[in-house]
């Protein structure tokens, strides 16, 4: 019998069925990769995050609720993995109170300027590249909040649970992140027109 739904695959994977887990990876590796790509802004890091997300998921299947969509569960794990990676010593550190530029911007070392991904430029286009540039300029917690609200469509309360912070902090981060994005996007539109 060929399993054809996520729930059945997830239950089998939770029981140690490698084949079922492999099928889940194949189904959702693209979605998880895109979460990571929005958060990390480069393909190698995003691939690492995707791989780590599935490894963590495999080890945490005992805590997975089969009634919850597996894709949503995997994506929230991916956001947490990204935040862990971004807060580690090897990545830029951001302050929650930092409403201005990221350290990369402040130093003039914008990751998109530094390392322009040719795949991104060719396949997605300059406009998407600019939007990603605006996202990656946000502090990691803001990025995570935007990701969870706009791309994963979680409620404020769900975001708070995912990021282990009060709902009030989620609101503030979301408002500030949107304001920063709006300003950057407005600036981009002006430069496009000129």
């Amino acid at each position: 019998m060929t399993p054809n739904n996520d729930r059945e695959l997830a239950v089998r994977a939770a029981q140690g069925d490698g084949q079922a887990f492999g099928e889940l990876i194949q189904r959702y590796q693209g979605a998880v990769f895109n979460v990571a790509y929005r958060m990390m802004a480069n393909a190698p890091d995003a691939e690492d995050v995707t791989q780590e997300t599935f490894i963590r998921a495999y080890r945490a299947f005992s805590s997975y609720d089969p009634e919850r969509p597996i894709a949503a569960w995997l994506k929230t794990i991916a956001v947490r993995v990204c935040l862990t990676l971004l807060s580690s010593d090897s990545h830029e550190a951001f302050s929650l109170d930092d409403e201005g530029q990221s350290p990369a911007q402040a130093s003039g070392d914008d990751p998109f300027q530094r390392e322009t991904d040719p795949v991104e430029l060719v396949q997605v286009g300059e406009r998407a590249h600019s939007v990603r540039q605006a996202i990656i300029a946000l502090p990691p917690q803001y990025r995570a909040t935007i990701e969870l609200r706009h791309f994963q469509e979680l409620s404020y309360e769900e975001i708070a649970q995912t990021l282990h912070c009060p709902v009030g902090v989620v609101k503030i981060n979301l408002f500030r992140a949107r304001r920063m994005l709006a300003e950057r996007l407005a600036g981009m539109q002006k430069s496009e027109r000129s």
């Binding site: 194949q26 791989q51 599935f54 495999y58 396949q123 706009h150 979301l174």
Partner: protein, 204 residues
Amino acid sequence: MDHLTEEQINEYVDHLLTAAEAEAVERHLLRCAACQEKVDEIQQVFVTLADLPEVPLQKELATHVLRLVEPPPTSMPERQPTRVMPKWVPGLAWTIAALQIPLAGLALVYAWPMLRAWQAPIESYFRWSGWNTSGMIQSLLTWSSQVQRTIANLSTPPHLPTWNPQEGMLILAVLLAAWAAGNYLLFHSNHTATHSGGRYGTSL
């Protein structure tokens, strides 16, 4: 005129306000260009993010991830079904081990007189090697005799049989056999418990 707060604007665009609250915000927006501009900017963020296209993953990760999370196929032979140790064996092993100490002491007391016959050659050997052991051996023989007399006085019937060297050797052989059997059982009991990891129970 009071402007809308950041929270009101965001909850309005997130459709989190009640109908009455949303209506109040919309009434305000009709007459406040500044707040309307802020709302437009936030809504433009919504549209821009929604239009962001997905990026294809260039690699196939499933095989690699599975290799990392699943234990590699072992080249070791499958664990053979093992005989299950009877429950009484460990208890017997520990009993024998506990008896070994007094039995060994008793054996030493009764076996020691046999060394009388070997006293001369032993002394000769140690004398040849430069050691003067006659005093030490004599002291041990005296102590052994005293212990035998004490035991004989305490025993019922009042006198323990006096064994000749051949009988002493036989007793010593029996005690050694018991000692070896006890150690064998203990070793296997501990060895099995250590290597089974508790998964297969106690087995030989």
